[in-house]
Assembly symmetry: C2
Homo-oligomer: 249 residues x 2
DNA sequence: CGGTAGTTTGAAAGAATTCAAAGCAAGTGG
DNA sequence: CCACTTGCTTTGAATTCTTTCAAACTACCG
């Protein structure tokens, strides 16, 4: 719950970065990469730590290098909804706005590659390739948000859980440039409460449905944060979506 | 339910266009506007007509000039969720993708200002001002989608209805550069079923909650498609959001 | 005037929530 | 090394809200 800025000295070169070809820097060539390199710095957060609070000033934007963060929105009476899940290569922050619209929390240990806001905005103006990539990523996020609308509006608790697992499996596979098939292991770096906040459920319902899926043989649990899926296809069917594979792009 | 392309001959000049300063062309100067003017054409749809079906080829992008359209997603078993509501000045279509991701339906009579895809994409590459405006609009849409996630995930049926009315009132006011206050009239160009699809409810629940809000004196009905709100503030309270006014920007 | 599409209302059923209690795993301190 | 606390999770029982199924109502149109 603390918000200590953990600025890391490390100036790792972009060359070997695990998100080099999926993040906002994906299409950059060496010159642009150099400019980014000049304005970047790393920050590390522990699971549970807050990155920013809604309405806080935020003087940087960032790419998620590793770990996971949640964007969270609240009603005054405390009801909480996660409105975004940031996985490696996802972009955090909004160019042109220096106040955070959402509370951002690390749901697992998190490493951010941060860019100071002003220089980054200048870069966006001068480098169409970076701006174009950001537009592309924003459109992808919008599509993802719209899929989430379908999930929240129309899926049963059981389908919601299955869908979350499918999404995590697909994202994990995409980073490794693979396609999820057959027996797979999904790491689930979320508490039951965080899952509930993401799925629009209570944590009790999440727990119950996890148990139900386990009893039905759709998943096996290896500790609380690791799920074994004997048949990915069967999980997709439980998720209620059409069976055709999601975009691997 | 038909999909007749209704191409209008009219070549209205951009100058007096009602969405001139909010749409994707907002920041254009005369030269860029000229280029847009060369590639534009109008299409008109009647309430209930489909603009495109999900997975259809779509060779244009467009701005909504007047009327309202819904983006809709479906599960195989027929459950339907509206995932976007396009109001005047909103942008339709995704540059760089020629296949519609969602079914688009006119919920009221609709006028689109269409741009042929290829020339528009070329313009995006060459005119940072247009690309920048599109990025800005996409980020706004993403924020709106995230507000919708909160609504679908955590609000009661009654709050959902109130929220929809608040949003329509705010959008209507924004176009007229006003702020909604006191006694207002909201036009509601949606059937109960479309409202249900948008709110993740059944049409019966929508109808019941409309009646409840009426009995509570929060709204009055003038026909089915026109709502009188005696006190906008009271409606906002019913919506469950914090009271501070939404962005007028 | 009858037909249709859309809407409202009622009663019963169902899914998820709420409230409550117990279980489990990891870590701390005696 | 064990007792105990703490944070998270699981399970149970009762309640609540929304849905489902059914029927009636309304306004518009030919």
């Amino acid at each position: 719950m603390t918000t200590d800025a953990a600025i890391i000295a490390t100036q790792a070169p972009c060359e070997n970065c695990p998100i080099r070809y999926r993040a906002v820097c994906a299409h950059c060539e060496s010159e642009e990469l150099g400019e980014l390199e000049d304005m970047k710095f790393y920050r590390r957060y522990e699971a549970g730590q807050n990155v920013v609070w809604a309405a806080d000033r935020m003087d940087f934007v960032a790419s998620v290098v590793s770990g996971m963060a949640g964007l969270t929105q609240q009603l005054e009476d405390g009801r909480t909804q996660m409105v975004g899940l940031l996985l490696p290569s996802d972009f955090l922050g909004r160019p042109g706005r220096d106040v955070a619209a959402y509370t951002v929390t690390a749901t697992s240990d998190l490493l951010l590659c941060c860019f100071r806001r002003k220089p980054f905005e200048k870069l966006l103006r001068e480098r169409p390739r970076v701006a174009g990539r950001l537009l592309e990523m924003t459109l992808d996020e919008l599509d993802a948000a719209r899929d989430w609308l379908l999930l929240l509006g129309r899926k049963s608790a059981r389908e919601k859980i299955a869908s979350l697992l499918v999404i995590l499996a697909r994202r994990e596979a995409a980073l490794l440039r693979r396609r999820p098939e057959g027996r797979i292991v999904v790491s689930l770096p979320l508490t039951r409460e965080a899952m509930a906040d993401y799925l629009g459920l209570t944590l009790e319902t999440v727990s119950r449905q996890m148990s139900t899926l386990k009893r039905a043989g759709v998943i096996e649990l290896d500790g609380k944060r690791r799920v074994i899926v004997p048949s990915f296809g069967a999980l997709v069917i439980e998720s209620g979506d059409d069976s055709d594979g999601g975009p691997l792009s």
